[in-house]
Every structure is written in C-alpha cells, then in structure tokens.
C-alpha cells in the first residue's frame, strides 16, 4: 500500500541521494561483514558476493573513465532496489535463477568468477549475451540468464541517465524551462 508522498518519503529520497553521493566512502564499512547486501531489500535475498557481481557488471556497463562510473554512482544498489521494488515476482525469480546461470557460465568459460575476469573478458561476456538477446529465437543462452542480464543492463543505464550526476553534468535537465519555442533551428543546442 502506497502511503501519501509525505515529507518522510522526501527525506528518504534525500537520504538515498546522500548515500549515492557519499556512497564510495560508505561502502567498505558496510559490505562483506555480515555477508548481506548493503541495501535493504524486502523481496529478494542478495548476499555480499551477489551484490559484488551486480556491482562489477554495472561497472563493466558504465565504467569509470575520466567521468564517474557505476560504482561511483552506486548504480548497482539502484539496480537491486528496482528489482526488489518494481519487478514482478516472476522477474525477481528469473533474475535470481539467471544470476546463478550467469555465474556458472562465466566459471565454465573462464574458470574464474566474473569479478576475477579482466575487463576484456567481462565486456565480451556481457556483449555476447546482449547480442543473443536481440534474436528472440536464439537459444544460445538460457532465457532467464538473458532476463537477468536485461534487467541489470536496463536498470544500470536507467539509473545512470536519471542520476543527478548525468542530468546536471552530461545533459541539462531543466525543471523550469520558462519557454516554448515552437520553431527552433536544429543547429542550436537544445536542453532536455
């Protein structure tokens, strides 16, 4: 049941935002000790290794370059939150099953875990699954593995492109445009 969007929710949102901004500093103290995920989840059970996997996948998708990457922006925690809150039960189950299949696949292919793979191996793994996902008929990878990857990829990019960092530093989101130009020459740079 949804409660009205009260100040409490706003505070939660701001707190989450603070977590995202200050996330890198917080991480070492709150992961691994308990073997539990560092984000509070209600519906899916994620341990520290699994969280690390999602983190490494997200970082492979949006790596740190000369600009922040997925871990800097805590996108893996956003992915887990969205799976936990916004996916159907079936997608959550497929996500968990697909994650196991993904781990098995990487172990089989490289004899090490995803986290121990180098960047090239990681990228190739994700790209080959993504490629296979474009062919609805292909059975090269199990369907649930593709569901798992699709969710991680989609929510990582969703989290990235709707992050404060992206919407203030990469593209300009205007809360108050204050104008509508119906005829605007393409040559000029628009805001979003």
């Amino acid at each position: 049941m949804l409660k009205p969007f009260t100040n409490m929710h706003r505070r939660t949102a701001i707190k989450n935002l603070a977590l995202i901004i200050g996330g890198a500093a917080l991480l070492p103290s709150c992961v691994h000790d308990s073997g539990q995920a560092s984000v509070k989840l209600k519906n899916i059970d994620i341990n520290a290794d699994q969280e690390k996997l999602i983190g490494d996948m997200a970082e492979t998708i949006i790596p740190k370059t000369n600009t922040p990457g997925a871990k800097d922006l805590q996108l893996h925690l956003f992915v887990l939150k969205m799976v936990d809150d916004c996916c159907t039960k079936k997608d959550q189950q497929d996500f968990m099953t697909g994650m196991e299949q993904f781990n098995d696949l990487v172990k089989k292919r490289y004899s090490v875990s995803f986290s121990q793979c180098n960047v090239k191996q990681r990228e190739q793994t994700l790209l080959s699954i993504e490629q296979d996902g474009k062919d609805a008929k292909s059975t090269a990878y199990p369907a649930k593995l593709k569901t798992f990857y699709g969710i991680v990829k989609g929510q990582t990019v969703n989290g990235y492109t709707t992050s404060k960092y992206f919407m203030t530093k990469q593209v300009v989101y205007e809360l108050v445009p204050g104008r509508y130009n119906a005829f605007y020459p393409v040559k000029k740079k628009q805001a979003v």
């Binding site: 916004c86 809360l175 628009q190």
Partner: protein, 570 residues
C-alpha cells in the same frame, strides 16, 4: 441544554452548502461567496493547500526513489488507478487507491478519482473548448437522449465570464463548431503541426488548431490578483503548480473564495445524503460523516450545490431518500442514475515524418500541441454512426541515444546528439450516446466505511462507438498518409469506459420533468433549492473536454440561484 442545541444548529447553518471542492465545486464556492453568501464547502478527502501541499512539485527526476516508476506492490494492489496515464511516483498521492473507496463493476469501468480539496482539478489535462449549438442541438437533431434545455446563447456569456478568470490560452480560429473565447495568447503549433494544419485545411477543409488550454501564457491582472503567475512550461502539472500556471480549484477559485471571508472549508467530510423537509418541500441541509471521528453531523443551508463529481453526485442523490422521494432526491422521473455516458478515447495513431528536419522545438508545450475539432456530421448526418470525434495531434523530436553495448563507447553514445525524425501522434476523443442501459445504482447490500451503499456501475460501449472508432482510424490514417507521414500505426486499446475520466450524466438537464432530473438552471425540477452543476448534469457529452462547460454552467446556476433567493423564490 435547549439553548446549546439552538446554538449548535446555528453554528451548523450557512446560507449555502457546496458538496465537493473540485472543478465545479470550487466555482460554486467562489460565486456564492462572491455574492456575499456564507458558504460551507464539504470535501470528503484531505485538505490540499496551494503550493504547501504539493510535496513533489520541485523534485528533480533523481530525487524520486524509483525515478518515477510505481513499485510493483502498488501497481498490483491498484489495477484500476494504475491504468491512469498520470499515476506515477510524482502524483500518486493525489489519486484514490482502489481499496480506499470500492465500487461494484457490473461492467468493467475504470473509475479514476481524486479525493482531496481541489479534486481532479489538480490532475486534469487542462484542455478547454467551448461547446457550440452543433453540440447543444445534437440530441434533438439526431434523436437520442432528450433535448438540451439551453442553447449556446444561454451559456456564451458565462463561458466568457469563467474564461477571463481561469485564464485560457488559444487562438481566435473563427470556427462555428468550436466558438472562440476570451483568450490569452495561444501556445503555437510547431513546424510539423503547422504543416499538417495547412495540409488538411487545403485538402479536406478540416482544421488543426493550437490546443486551447487553461494555462496562463500571459497573465492578466485578474490572474496576478489570484496569486498566480505565468506558466513556466514545466509540464509537471499533475504535481500541482507552484506558479499557479494552470487553473486548478486549489490555485484559483478556493483561495479566492477564502479571501472573501465567507467560506468555511471542511475536509474529511463524506456526504451521506441531502436532507429533505417534507413540510417545507425543499432540502434543508446535508448529513455528513466526519471520516476522522466517524461522527454523523448535519449542516443546514438554504441553497445546496452538488458538485461531488459526476458519479458521486449520482450516488448522493440516489442515497437521499425520503417519503416524498423514495428513489432518490428529485427522482420523480425515474431517470436518476441513467443515461450515463463518457468519451471514447480507445484509439490512437502514431507515425513518423522525415521532412522539416531543419526544425525542432525548444522548451516544452503545455498545450500539448494541436487539436482537431470534430469534422464529422456537423451540418448534417453523413456517416453510418451518430455524432463525431475530436482528435489530439502533436509532433515532436527526441534525441535517439543508443543504449547498445557496454563500456566507454556506451557512455559516449548516451550523450551523443542524435536527433531523431519527427514523431507524430493523435488520439481519439469520441462523443458517446447516453443510453438508459448505461446507468449507476446503489448496490443493494454492500456499504462503504461510512455507511453509504457502494455504487454499482453498468456502462458500456455500443455499435455507434465501434463504427466511430473505425472511422477515426480510417480518416486519420488517410490524413497522415496524404501528408507524407510514414510508419503509420493505428491502435485500438480496448480500454474500459471511465479511463477517459469524462464520465457524465445520470442527473441530466431537460425541459420535461418527466424525462429529466434538472431544469435549464441546473436546478432539480422537484426541489428548487438543490443545484447540480458537475458532470452529472450533462444531457449529452459532445466531444469537447467538459470542464470548461461545468465551470460556465456553475457560474450561471449560482447567478440564478442567488437572484431567485433574493426574489424570495428559494
């Protein structure tokens, strides 16, 4: 003790009572208080104060926990309201959740409600068009429902009156089927909308005009006096606007009424029934349940306006029974609750245009783009269905940034400018024919938390709607094709009635008390101090968005009510 009771009754007595605080209730309160009447406004939900109670209004996308998406648990618990286009994380707090006020769907009906001060006026799509005599004369010309007891000339001055205060942007287009109003400057059509407008005018003699909407494109003094400011093109209206850039009861009529000192606003007040006094032969007040204390309280007044939103107005009237009116207040005719209709929004069409690529737009258009007034069966019957449809029309370009791949190249693609071609879209807004078989009634057994019977809704499409939809798809497809649009996709979405949020009728106006509930002044034929000026009063639906007509009917009815009261007739 006796004195206490007398004092208590006195405290609960007003000159007028308005049931409901939304689009039309806000107008009733503004007009009544403006004429000096001490007025009580009853709202079943909580108070929503302008600006103060818009918690999400200044939030950035990244400040929403799920970036706007509704959590699955909420979606699954609310299959009905979840189908509404505006039910997202930024405005969900203004919608009634499915379990909060259940109803019985004799046939599928998505009843979308906003139980708070301001009602759905916070959430509406703000499209405002006048009716013409092609609409008011529709039922009599085409032989359905009953004749409207008014014509355009009766309401035209009241359209002007409410338009000036609410602030309506638009162009004077000079169309008989869509009369011009008192307009603030229109939000212009963009390059492709203008191109399409010229094309269909030349080829078909049809019109694509700037959508007329309740936004302050350029405020006048009267709007500044309300504390409102120019629309800032945010298009986040459903959150409540901190500028008062669009018209809502919260930003406009209610604060105005409060400023008069004559308004008492009482939220958390569910109206059970209107009290009818057999000896006096009129209504004397209303009976409410305070939703916090569960206490039943009676309030008294000489004039009662029922503006609870179309279906809840029917519910209140049906539940107001007495020896004189065993089947609901003013229901001598037996038509109360019947002839409910709506707007058919169940088709839309999208396409692409590869021309005019030297142009795009900048900022956002609060009007949403263009509006195609009804072009079918205006002067005479010319199709195999009755009446017609208006259509929305808009064109836009988006950055098409590829999400393909991973790594540094993906990051680059996500910021690379790649302006797509023009996307164009249209949606259907069809008039539906009120029928006796489309009705609302009280459920015989089930009651809500406040002891009021649940409303049973039995409203459906008919053959006329199907034929009209087929025509909309054919005509718009042809117009799109001839304009050179490609990749044309028409879709029929089989939505239930109600999702249009334009439910109307049940207490229709008419000349004959035997076949209608209200007279030409929106007054119950049989109880002359009770007025209904929300969607329940509608004899037919036209295809224009209805809110502006409710506003005008309300101001007109208050003027009549107070003048009759002053003459001693009420």
């Amino acid at each position: 003790m006796a004195n206490l009771n007398i004092d208590s009754v006195k405290d609960r007595t007003f000159d007028a009572i308005v049931i409901g605080s939304g689009m039309s209730g806000g107008w009733a309160a503004k007009e009544l208080t403006g004429k000096g009447l001490k007025t009580l406004m009853l709202e079943r939900g909580r108070d929503v104060k302008h600006i103060k109670d818009y918690p999400t209004t200044n939030m950035y996308p990244w400040e929403f926990e799920h970036r706007g998406e509704m959590p699955m648990a909420v979606q699954e618990a609310n299959p009905i309201v979840n189908r509404c286009y505006a039910f997202h994380e930024d405005a969900a707090h203004f919608f009634v959740k499915d379990k909060e006020h259940p109803y019985v769907q004799d046939k599928p009906f998505d009843w979308i409600r906003g139980y708070q001060v301001g009602g759905k006026s916070l959430l509406w799509a703000r499209q405002t068009q006048r009716w013409s005599d092609f609409d008011f004369e529709g039922p009599s010309r085409d032989g359905f429902a009953v004749d409207w007891p008014i014509r355009y000339k009766d309401i035209a001055p009241w359209y002007s009156y409410v338009e000036k205060f609410a602030g309506i942007s638009g162009n004077k287009d000079g169309l008989a089927e869509l009369p011009d109003g008192e307009f603030l400057p229109a939000f212009p059509l963009n390059s492709v909308e203008s191109y399409f407008s010229k094309h269909v005018k030349n080829k078909y003699g049809r019109h694509v005009i700037s959508a007329r909407c309740a936004h302050l494109s350029k405020p006048n003094q009267i709007h500044l006096d309300q504390g409102r400011a120019q629309c800032q093109e945010r298009i986040l209206c459903q959150r409540g606007c901190p500028f008062g850039g669009y018209f809502s009861a919260n930003s406009s009529t209610i604060p105005w009424a409060l400023k008069s000192g004559n308004l008492t606003l009482r939220p958390f007040s569910v109206v059970q029934s209107i009290i009818y006094d057999e000896k006096k032969g009129k209504a004397t007040g209303v009976r409410i349940v305070d939703t916090n204390t569960k206490e039943t309280i009676e309030y008294f007044a000489n004039i009662i306006f029922v503006n609870a939103a179309a279906l809840n107005t029917n519910l209140i009237l049906l539940n107001s029974t007495s020896h004189r009116f065993p089947n609901g207040l003013g229901n001598d005719s037996g038509v109360l609750g019947k002839y409910v209709a709506f707007h058919n929004y169940s088709a839309h069409i999208s396409a692409q245009y590869d021309g005019l690529l030297e142009w795009t737009t900048d900022g956002r258009n609060p009007a949403g783009g263009g509006y195609i007034p009804r072009f079918r069966n205006i002067h005479k019957q010319e199709t195999d269905f009755l009446r017609g449809y208006a259509s929305g029309f808009s064109a836009y370009r988006r950055q098409q940034r590829s999400w393909d791949g991973v790594g540094g190249s993906l990051k680059e693609n996500l910021v690379k400018d790649n302006l797509g071609p023009w996307s164009v879209g249209s949606h259907m807004m069809g008039e539906t024919i009120p029928k006796e078989a489309s009705y609302v009634a009280l459920d015989a057994k089930l009651k809500d938390d406040w002891g009021v019977p649940l409303l049973k809704i039995s409203v459906d499409y008919d053959d006329n709607d199907e034929k009209m939809k087929k025509d909309y798809i054919e005509q718009l497809t042809e117009m799109f094709t001839s304009a050179g649009f490609t990749n044309i996709k028409a879709e029929s979405d089989h939505r239930a009635p109600g999702l249009d949020i334009h439910e109307m009728g049940g207490a229709r106006m008419g000349n004959d008390p035997k076949t209608s509930v209200l007279n030409k002044w929106n007054q119950l034929h049989a109880v002359n101090n009770v007025f209904v000026t929300d969607g329940a009063c509608m004899t037919s639906t036209s295809c224009q968005n209805p809110s502006l007509t409710y506003m005008a009917l309300t101001a007109r009815a208050v003027d009549h009510a107070v003048s009759e009261m002053n003459k001693g007739n009420i």
